[in-house]
Symmetry: C2
Subunit: 157 residues, 2 copies
């Protein structure tokens, strides 16, 4: 558990627990793209949470405001690899911040924390993909030092 | 171990072992971008191999031709997640095929195998990033059904 102090407000960052899943799913669904992708049935999310929680290379975060409401989430994955001199990657997925926190600096503080977590675990490269329609997100990531050097390609299986 | 039959040639696909590491690094370095990124010192690669090999969600592949030479590699990572209804992702990293195999259909056969591996382990989405300068690779991935829907953002840590 870490406390982030951002512009006079305090947020608690912690490893998510099973009891956070419903709030995390609500956050994922409260989004222009997520609204079409998430479902009301919690069962598949609870199964996925179990798999995330058992994998020591996964860290799912729940961020709470001073009132105890879940206002942010991200999933961090450590990926060892041979390429680039045996570089370990920190991959960031499933980033969501509640609309109430936008512009507060919480996103920047949370990414700073995530990057430090990656370095502490031996990662020397951070990576994420972001839907090409999310222009605001890309400006945010570029301010954080990310470069859109790659195409992010996906296909259903 | 799987045998892929491609256009009259046979290739053996197997989980990489420590004794494959030097050949895999040579393959990573035999590439316009990889040539600048890989080093002659095997030690960091062997350390990275150990981490990959211990993680049950990682599968590093070595592909051999009929003469026993390593002519291909890719790394598959299974990533459980909450987003998209609890979707598990198959992430593909570090894809390299020897120039001698280009145009043979080996790449397509290897990706077909990888997608089936993902489905067998519960993944319903495959994803990868590819440097924006690799125009040939993007045409290949689009033929395989991938869509360049996302920006692939990276930054050093």
């Amino acid at each position: 558990m870490t406390t982030l102090s951002v512009d006079g407000r305090r947020y608690e960052v912690a490893r998510a627990t099973e009891s956070d899943v419903a709030a995390l799913v609500a956050l994922l669904a409260d989004d222009v793209l997520g609204a079409q992708r998430e479902s009301a049935d919690l069962a598949p999310y609870l199964a996925a949470f179990g798999e995330i929680d058992r994998d020591p290379n996964q860290l799912l975060l729940a961020v709470r405001d001073e009132g105890g409401d879940v206002v942010g989430t991200m999933q961090l994955t450590l990926i060892p690899g041979l390429a680039r001199g045996g570089t370990k990657r920190l991959q960031v997925e499933g980033v969501r911040l509640a609309p109430s926190t936008r512009g507060s600096g919480l996103g920047t503080a949370l990414f700073d924390w995530a990057h430090e977590y990656g370095r502490r675990h031996g990662a020397t490269l951070a990576q994420l993909t972001s839907d090409k329609t999310r222009a605001d997100a890309h400006r945010f990531y570029e301010r954080l030092g990310y470069e859109a050097s790659h195409e992010g390609l996906k296909r259903p299986l």
